[in-house]
Symmetry: C2
Subunit: 459 residues, 2 copies
């Protein structure tokens, strides 16, 4: 055997001793752990492990380190930038077995969970407390994976992202050491913020095994409205005016006409195929009507059609479900295609121009593309439908993708608002952060001196 | 000359060439930069420099590195844990000359400032925009210093701390390199969160030279109320009930009877000398009265006296000014004394018990001591008045301080909510963070390989 093969064989022998059948080299299981929901090429891991505890994760990392085998943390595989693709082979560590909700402290509005707990499982568990965990990236992702990718989603404008809603982490470093990064206190000035350093580190610094999370009170009242107009600019101007009025909103989303068409095909909603704003107002029963009245009056000031209110909770949830599933829906616009989906985030005042220039740019390439955005954060997604066997189409889409990021950076924005760097934006990170990237690389060495954790990502 | 003296002389020669009279070794200027407002022993810097630009800061750091001379960043000296005390000598870098407000983007609700700009200067500058910067540690600190110590204060419960309100930083590393840690985008998933890593690093990783800050809309309406009761527990129960009701509050502060007595002496307010809750409600003119009515009814449910409302803006500001100046006020309770002031932060449900146990503990030592707290975060301050020439008193106070931190850690809290580690809590940090401290030390090496930045702090 060659050196790498011999090392892998020794590592696998150790892993089997540790985990027995919870270490598998079966082809289909490996394929299930080879790619996320993004557009990047798969990377087949050599084996998949299913630990049940943090000490088991630490033992796996220690073994892999001894044998110089890559370790890739796997949550649910719902990422977008290839973070879990095992591009250099190695061991995929599936954390779904770390599935315990350890405690819910309703009085403190916090909870402790293992990293494999999914967000919907947690919210179901919380149902009777009047509390919920608000970060919602669409997919029913694991909370550890959401922390690792600094996930956000539509609720971020009101409740913040994973950055804001994690009080502390337990994590296994690339040395096999287990550390805890904080306490249950809501704020702290004790030393460097290791919690925030691990959030968004995409499995390259440590494997997250436990999280202490902030919970929020469910709003007493919610109202959802939809406004459409042929003119995207006036919709966005209206959205910004709503924000600046300090209205209590939980979500403020935009879909362009292509995204609406996709959702209509997918869910048969029969929406007008025009740029559309979705707004969710949240507040107390006593005050929400004031805010809704204000929003209605403001729409008139902007010469927009009267907002359409979701009449029932079912209507409301159908509307949001459509928004959430737009990624799946749009493939119906070109059956058999794959979506090159990306995201950028710009200062809010620039989002209208950034979307308009992006639409104009997309019109010059012959690909179906849709835009949806979290307006409240200046964050939007572009999805281009490509034939993944057609290198010309891929090149066209990738070039448009580069131009999009240049555009966002030139407007004072970032190359990714919520998807992360992963495999897809490594060159853009350098353009955005300059010498900061070298600092990041050096920090990586501190946590993972042998560079075994998720190699080939971010840098 | 001995080696250290020779190195210092060479460094000073270089600094004078660079800065001319903006590098001073005058005794009185050095003494003004030798200690903050906390209780720690002073540390006299060998010189004080007054750069005006980030490149000048970089040149100072580069010179100091070449000659192995410590560099201590100085904002306004309003810290509490000796962060700016030059305990190993070296060059105090006074950043007050970096005083430009570079841009205010009202539409994006952000601004860019140099690190020496003070928070009140910024808020005065913003007066006509309807926006403000909410983080308020009491003192009129510099924004760079506030970021370096992860400052917060009463507004943190609604608006967050410096952690939450800084979008990006420019900073000079211990190598002299200048980096930028982010963009103006409100969120990002691009690489490791260097912004949050520098926030709270107390001048040990880098010297912050510019900040991009989030701004907030000034609330349309504010109401301030005061409730007092002989029984601290029922006041805190009421406070927690207000929080759990999701009422729009900006501040929720408690003062014990000793703190109220101090404030009465200082400002002649004539408040009842009992534990006192101060609440500031913030919201829209249309909705705030609903919330105030709710708060009044709730006080009745808790058998509390009717809250007393500040009738005029002047009353309101006098009340908050008293709260802010409690630190100065309490020295009137024992003229000539110095205050050993500290802070801890615990899960909110524990704060009543933690304060009660702390009061009981303080009763066993023969020192005047007061407690004030930011209830909304579970954060409170204890101030013990000592004769700084009396080693017995110092020992008693330090032992009570240790017991306080043990108590907070045992309740799932942190050794400091907002003051930082500095000189005062280095041993406690190890108890709180365990192996995480070694990771922090290794990160320090990345940013500051020759360990010249603020040596003797945190570790």
């Amino acid at each position: 055997m060659r050196g790498p093969d011999r090392r892998l064989a020794a590592c696998l022998a150790g892993l089997r001793e540790l985990l027995d059948t919870r270490c598998s080299t079966g082809q289909s299981l490996r394929e299930l752990h080879a790619r996320d929901e993004g557009w990047h090429l798969p990377g087949l891991p050599d084996a998949v492990c299913f630990p049940k505890t943090a000490p088991e994760v630490a033992s796996i990392v220690t073994l892999c380190r001894r044998h110089a085998v890559p370790v890739i943390a796997f949550g649910t595989g719902s990422g977008m930038e290839g973070q879990i693709n095992a591009v250099q082979g190695g061991i995929s560590v599936d954390l779904s077995g770390l599935d315990q909700i350890l405690e819910v402290n309703a009085g403190d509005m916090d909870c402790r969970v293992e990293a494999g707990v999914r967000r919907m499982t947690l919210n179901t568990h919380l149902r009777d407390t009047g509390l919920f965990f608000p970060v919602d990236p669409g997919a029913d992702a694991s909370l550890g994976g959401m922390a690792a990718t600094r996930a956000s989603g539509p609720n971020a404008m009101r409740y913040g992202t994973m950055r804001d809603n994690v009080l502390a982490l337990e994590a296994v470093l690339g040395t096999g050491e287990i550390i805890t990064t904080g306490t249950r206190a809501r704020k702290s000035s004790a030393g460097y913020d290791l919690t925030r350093l691990l959030i968004g580190s995409e499995g390259t610094l440590a494997i997250i095994t436990k999280l202490c999370l902030r919970l929020h009170a469910l709003p007493e009242a919610l109202r959802t409205a939809r406004v459409h107009a042929s003119d995207l600019q006036s919709l966005l101007d209206y959205a910004i005016a709503l924000m600046q009025a300090g209205i209590g909103m939980a979500k403020l989303e935009v879909m362009d006409e292509v995204a609406v068409r996709a959702v209509n095909l997918y869910a048969g909603l029969g929406l007008e195929e025009e740029p559309t704003l979705l707004v969710e107002f949240a507040g107390s029963a006593a005050t929400i009507d004031h805010e809704v009245d204000f929003a209605l009056a403001l729409a008139e000031d902007f010469d927009l059609p009267k907002p359409v209110w979701a009449a029932s909770p079912e209507d409301r949830s159908r509307l949001w479900k459509a928004r959430h599933e737009v990624a799946h829906a749009e493939t119906l616009l070109r059956p058999g295609s794959r979506s090159l989906v990306t995201d950028v985030c710009v200062p809010i005042s620039r989002i209208a121009r950034c979307i308009a220039e992006t639409r104009a740019d997309l019109a010059t390439i012959d690909l179906i593309a849709s835009i949806v955005g979290h307006i409240g954060d200046g964050n939007f997604h572009v999805s281009m439908l490509i034939d993944s066997g057609d290198s010309r189409e891929i090149a066209l889409a990738e070039a448009a993708h580069d131009r999009l990021i240049d555009r966002a950076l030139a407007m004072g924005g970032t190359s990714t608002g919520e998807h992360g760097i992963g495999l897809g934006k490594m060159t853009h990170l350098r353009r955005e952060m300059g010498g900061g990237v070298d600092v990041m690389r050096a920090i990586k060495q501190v946590f993972d001196p042998d560079l075994i954790l998720n190699p080939g990502k971010i840098f």
